[in-house]
């Protein structure tokens, strides 16, 4: 008899993921799914999928799911949480969805201290639509709509979602994490778990920003992408816990 050394999380369905080779969405999905199972809340979880690469997330998370309009996941999640207060509600959003068209939604869901958890996947580009400039695209970064590199004098600087949301009083937990090696994966998992715990304890709004890659639209191999993230994104988007109302130390 062989011994089971690895099992797919029960928090995920058997539907094959559609993500590109080397994309980190699969890893991030796994962390969220494992967390829901470990916290024993999968059967009261209701997730909200975005518009963007994760648009099909409703097929993958093995719990009740809504598919929202572009940017509106926080509003949809608000409706769900208010209607079913003892549910565990999360949104899973990319940077175009959350930080561009959905800026108002995320700011207000945070301001209301809505008891939901947002997983914010930031890869500095629009993936699904083919590599256009995102609000999080770095200065000088080339995309299909910033072909000469993002020029802040022309279209502004990328903004830092976690830092901004951490200033809002009714947020309970805000962290930025990465998943490019085991050490960071472990930290990311802990942050996601903490975020859901804060929701379950009714502490307020929680968000975990996960720095991610887009080998396809960055035009790099998966390994090169991880290096690029570390060398370019991480300096602009520093990792860390920006808000944690459960710790006396508070923010970073």
């Amino acid at each position: 008899m062989g011994k089971i050394v690895y099992e797919k999380s029960k928090g995920l369905t058997d539907v094959p993921l559609h993500y590109c080779p080397g994309c980190l969405h699969g890893v991030i999905h796994k962390l969220v799914a494992e967390t829901l199972v470990e916290l024993n809340v999968l059967d009261r979880a209701i997730g909200v999928a975005p518009v963007g690469c994760a648009v099909f997330a409703y097929k993958y998370f093995n719990c009740d799911m809504h598919e929202a309009a572009h940017g509106r996941a926080p509003a949809v999640a608000t409706g769900i949480k208010r209607a079913v207060p003892d549910s565990v509600v999360f949104t899973y959003q990319g940077d175009g969805d959350l930080a561009s068209i959905g800026t108002g939604d995320i700011v207000h869901v945070a301001h209301r201290g809505e008891k939901i958890t947002t997983i914010f996947v930031n890869n500095a580009i629009y993936g699904m639509t083919g590599g256009q400039m995102a609000p999080t695209t770095l200065p000088g970064q080339k995309t299909t709509t910033s072909p000469y590199g993002r020029d802040p004098a022309h279209c502004g600087f990328p903004y830092r979602v976690s830092e901004m949301l951490a200033t809002i009083p009714s947020t309970a937990f805000i962290a930025r994490v990465a998943v490019y090696d085991i050490a960071h994966l472990t930290k990311a998992k802990a942050a996601i778990k903490k975020a859901f715990q804060m929701q379950i304890e009714g502490k307020g709004f929680s968000l975990v920003e996960v720095l991610s890659t887009c080998p396809t639209n960055w035009g790099l191999t998966p390994v090169e992408s991880l290096k690029w993230l570390k060398e370019n994104m991480e300096p602009y988007y520093p990792l860390g816990i920006y808000k944690d109302v459960s710790s006396n130390e508070g923010g970073n």
Binding site: L42, D43, R44, A45, I46, V48, V55, F56, Y58, K59, N62, C63, D64, M65, H66, E67, A68, A69, R72, A75, V76, A77, T78, G79, I80, K81, R82, A83, V84, S87, V88, G104, D105, H108, R112
Partner: protein, 357 residues
């Protein structure tokens, strides 16, 4: 039925919604409907519900999407510009087949327009609300009492057909006070919401639920559309409502009008009668589905020289009247726009000038 009380249209609509079992309200302030969210914010917390002010109308529509998807009776209200902002969310709710009730107390447009009563959102309500092959069930009350009665039906219809229902009033219906009586909830035998997302632990079969309007495969999306259109066919067969006022075979004029304007037309008809001119009114109560047959029947079976459509718009419902009559009688139009309310004398003069033609 309870005691008669004098109530503003907006407040009466809100009270009716609560009595009809509405427990959730998401909305954003805009004149001339503010008494609805104000009433809800006062009453819902006392009566086991939740009122939440959204940061914008588009957010409100999407809060509806979430709450409706989780199986509760939910509504919003707004006025013209706000409804335009809700359009996207409404399309998603139609695609995901979610029940909800939306109230539009229409004001003058286009753009910011003004806050006076208007009927210039007819086309938006019945034809062009949002993208896709969509319909909302559109109910048009002409009095505060009728607005109250229709609210109960709106929630039942929404649940029965899993489609948004729009109560199309105007600033006047919202602002005026009339005596109203509230009936208790109709308590119709509606199908249980087994499709709602309440967590798998609450699901009757233990399986997970998905609320979604995305069908990436054309074949799947066409099948969804076929299902929705089949539902719409049933609605057309079962839900058409209208009022016939002083209709008979030997009329000179048949008026077509809805909502507030129809009340002015009724006054016009009495005045014309005093002058020996016989006129009647067909007043659609459901604007969608539109009472086509009744218009067609009267076009075929009446001696009336023409139909005269009266609206507080530049001429919107007249298109449905013409389609229904299909060339069998001439159809004329009289309307005022921008929040101007047509005066009886103007209508009478125009009607008489047409008779001389």
């Amino acid at each position: 039925m309870g005691k008669k009380i004098l109530m503003k249209g907006n407040e009466a609509v809100a009270e009716a919604a609560i009595r009809a079992g509405c427990k959730y309200f998401f909305g954003y302030p805009i004149t001339p409907q503010n008494e609805i969210p104000e009433y809800m914010s006062r009453e819902l917390p006392k009566r086991g519900g939740v009122y939440l002010q959204a940061e914008a109308e588009f957010a409100a529509a999407n809060m509806l999407y979430g709450a409706a998807g989780s199986g509760v009776r939910v509504m919003t209200s707004s006025s013209s510009p706000g409804i335009s902002l809700m359009a996207e969310g409404i399309s998603y709710m139609i695609g995901a087949q979610l029940p909800c009730v939306i109230v539009n107390m229409v004001r003058g447009g286009p753009g910011l327009g003004n806050i006076a009563p208007a009927q210039s959102d007819y086309m938006q309500a019945v034809k062009g609300m949002c993208h896709g092959d969509v319909h909302l069930i559109v109910l048009a009350p002409s009095s505060v009492q009728e607005a109250v009665d229709l609210m109960y039906d709106a929630f039942d219809m929404a649940d029965l057909y899993r489609n948004p229902v729009l109560l199309l009033g105007d600033g006047m219906i919202g602002q005026m006070m009339e005596p109203v009586e509230f009936k208790e909830s109709t308590n119709k035998n509606l199908p249980p919401k087994t499709w709602a997302t309440t967590g798998t632990r609450n699901s009757p079969d233990g399986k997970r639920r998905i609320i979604n309007s995305l069908s990436i495969e054309p074949e799947d999306l066409e099948n969804l559309n076929i299902e929705i259109q089949k539902k719409y066919k049933t609605i057309v067969e079962k839900e058409i409502r209208y009022e016939e006022y002083k209709m008979s075979k030997d009329l000179d004029i048949i008026f077509a009008s809805y909502g507030t304007t129809s009340r002015i037309v009724k006054y016009v008809i009495k005045k014309l009668e005093e002058e020996g001119i016989k006129a009647g009114l067909i007043r659609p109560i459901t604007l969608w589905p539109f009472p086509e047959k009744i218009f067609e029947n009267w076009a075929e079976n009446s001696k009336a020289k023409f139909f005269l459509t009266v609206e507080m718009s530049a001429g919107q419902m007249i298109e449905d009247v013409k389609l229904s009559i299909n060339g069998k009688k001439p159809v004329y139009f009289y309307g005022r726009t921008g929040g101007m309310v047509p005066e009886p004398k103007e209508i009478i003069d125009y009607a008489k000038s047409l008779l001389k033609k």
